[in-house]
């Protein structure tokens, strides 16, 4: 499963929004990746995601494989939208 999001926080993906995302996906069993500029990193890794340096206004892809992937997407989408991190594309 995969889904695209547009990042709308004025400073892009900074420590605070990343911390929210990592905390949200860590409890899930399935592997989850964030792809930006053709580079994929583990979304459960705060440093991996920080090292992506996602700029404001850019599009990222989140992909997950595993038994609870659907549930994970529900949670991720909710966090991204409700915390003002970005919007679904």
């Amino acid at each position: 499963m995969k889904k695209m999001f547009k990042i709308t926080t004025p400073e892009g993906l900074h420590a605070r929004p990343i911390a929210l995302l990592v905390t949200a996906v860590t409890p899930f069993e399935c592997a989850v990746q964030l792809t930006y500029k053709e580079k994929s990193v583990n979304l459960k890794s705060i440093m991996g995601v920080m090292a992506q340096g996602v700029a404001p206004g850019s599009i990222v892809e989140i992909s997950a494989e595993g038994p609870d992937a659907e549930k994970l997407f529900q949670t991720v989408t909710e966090v991204i939208v409700s915390k003002g991190i970005g919007e679904e594309c």
Partner: protein
């Protein structure tokens, strides 16, 4: 018992245990390990311990500074749980090296990756990774990290120096005083101590070596003395001194509600300097006539990104409302020099005090300046706001800054936002060029505020933080006095008023000179307000004026001091 002498910078006496902020020794050897499983276990235990520490710090920080500022520690916890990093370290340990080495290697790899990013903010996250890996390393080595965030009982901080951002993290509930190895009367920690009204002694040279962490100490901020392991006799003496100090304070307290008048009825304003909105309380408690300097840097510090217009508006509004119509002078951002914002990435300079700072940054990076001005203008509707620009050296700079201000004011008015019509716009006099052509500036400004700390260091070309030349920091140097007199006369000639917001305004020797010169406003740490008001009440301005000419002809700082003591202080 050990007695240490330093420079007295903030009065009062306190008793507490030493809290030494020392760099922890985290050196280790790279070794080969035969029992890999035991090493992995040792690493896991260190990680668990570190998590518990960070969790504790996170909770303390939440309580002390609120959820937002504590977030950084939540991010630290996540770094520690980062699967990519943990897997890499474990893999490294499996190759047969010790955990310390594996940890260092892997975190250095991440650090290199972050440093290579084309993103200033992310480059700065390196400090966070270092912080976390240092903690784990300390736990692996079994050494304790000294940590200011974990202070939870009364302490006296002992440090080499306190940076502005470190001082911002101090919790005044527990910090009863500071002692530093370096610094002088005008270093940040000294100014902060006076703002917080806690005793401080700086410039002790070796306090961090001579004082053991946890040792019981007495700090005498009035005489610049520190007593380690005091005998009961000495303790009793200082308890008595402490009582006297409190009594003296109470005696001054009756001046709290009196107007600031000289013995012959000349009215001046005695105002307070503040660094944070919450410092207003101290100025009000001391009966200050206004705020003579609100340094706005602190709104920009202790954070990871620029403050928004709304955040700034709330901060300025709260100060103006609390001052209830009393004059409140806000100085626009004075960053650069020894004050840095990590997220602004200003290039390191050979001569930061002569470099890109204050108004020079504001008129170049205008967007940041305009955000601050809009916030100030919007807040102006809630009190008696005056705005001043720091580090003005040329007329063009002042005119440009004022034009930007007026432009933002007009934009807000067009948008229907209420803005005060009576905002006075002034400037700091801290560069000799401005002091010398004060007559030309006086036609443009509504007021001057003399910033003596910088004016003295620029006039005598001596870095006030450099101990080797600190003897040149001479407030009574004839050149400084002549500049001040020139500024006051130039302003009065144009019907403008002059304040002073440097440390000199509260100085016992300088005060009669300044009053005689005709200074209108004296702005100082809240803790000095009552003393200054009591002092001015005893002085006759008319009489002091008769000494002006003679004072201006004296040739050394020492002569001035002697003259004042002999003729003006009796």
């Amino acid at each position: 018992m050990l007695e240490i002498q330093g420079i007295a910078v903030s009065q009062g006496i306190a008793f507490a245990n030493a809290y030494c902020l020392k760099e922890t020794d985290l050196s280790y050897e790279e070794t080969q390990v035969a029992d890999v499983d035991a090493e992995l276990e040792r690493f896991n235990v260190a990680v668990m311990k570190t998590k518990a520490e960070l969790q504790e710090i996170y909770e303390i920080a939440q309580e002390k500074f609120g959820a937002e500022k504590a977030d950084i520690f939540a991010a630290h916890l996540l770094v520690l749980e980062d699967p990519e990093m943990l897997v890499a370290i474990e893999a490294k340990i499996r190759t047969g090296v010790n955990a310390e080495f594996a940890l260092d290697e892997v975190s250095n790899m991440f650090i290199a990756m972050f440093e290579g990013l084309d993103n200033v903010y992310m480059q700065e996250r390196v400090a966070d990774i270092r912080d976390v890996s240092k903690r784990v390393l300390a736990n692996l080595l079994g050494v304790e990290m000294v940590d200011m965030n974990r202070v939870a009982s009364d302490v006296i901080i002992v440090a080499k120096d306190l940076s502005p951002s470190m001082t911002a993290m101090l919790d005044t509930k527990y910090v009863k005083g500071f002692i530093t190895d370096i610094g002088g009367k005008t270093s940040h920690s000294a100014i902060l101590a006076r703002t917080l009204e806690i005793p401080a002694v700086v410039g002790t040279k070796n306090a961090t070596q001579d004082i053991q962490h946890g040792a019981p100490i007495i700090i005498d901020g009035t005489n610049g003395k520190i007593i380690v392991n005091a005998t009961s006799e000495v303790s009793r003496f200082y308890l008595q001194q402490q009582r006297l100090h409190i009594e003296e304070h109470e005696e001054l307290f009756r001046y709290r509600t009196l107007p600031s008048l000289s013995a012959d009825g000349f009215s001046v304003e005695i105002a307070g300097n503040i660094g944070k909105p919450e410092d207003v309380g101290n100025v009000i408690n001391a009966g200050g006539d206004g705020i003579g300097l609100f340094r706005t840097e602190f709104i920009y510090m202790e954070r990871q990104e620029l403050p928004t217009e709304e955040e700034q508006f709330q901060a300025y509004k709260s100060v103006l409302e609390k001052m209830q119509g009393k004059p409140t002078i806000v100085r626009t951002l004075d960053i650069g020099g020894d004050k840095h914002l990590p997220y602004m990435k200003l290039a390191a300079e050979m001569n930061p005090f002569l470099g890109y700072r204050a108004i020079r940054i504001s008129i170049t990076q205008q967007e940041m300046f305009r955000v601050q001005l809009r916030a100030l203008l919007r807040a102006s509707a809630y009190g008696n706001l005056k705005i001043m620009f720091p580090m003005i050296a040329t007329l063009d700079e002042f005119k440009m800054a004022k034009a930007i201000l007026l432009e933002e004011k007009q934009n807000l008015e067009i948008g229907g936002c209420p803005v005060s019509e009576t905002i006075e716009v002034g400037m700091m006099i801290e560069i000799p060029s401005a002091a010398i052509i004060a007559d030309l500036f006086a036609k443009e400004v509504d007021f001057f505020s003399i910033g003596t700390n910088d004016l003295i260091q620029y006039t005598l070309a001596a870095d006030r933080m450099n101990e080797n030349v600190s003897y040149l920091y001479q407030p009574y140097h004839p050149a400084v006095l002549r500049l001040i007199k020139n500024v006051i006369d130039a302003a009065h000639h144009q019907g403008k008023w002059v304040g002073m917001c440097g440390e000199m305004a509260a100085d016992e020797i300088a005060l009669p000179i300044l009053l005689g010169f005709g200074l209108n406003e004296f702005s100082m740490s809240a803790s000095s307000i009552l003393k200054a008001r009591a002092h001015i009440a005893k002085l006759s301005k008319q009489q002091l004026m008769t000494h002006n000419e003679r004072i201006l002809l004296l040739s050394t700082s020492a002569e001035v001091e002697e003259y004042v003591k002999k003729n003006l202080l009796s």
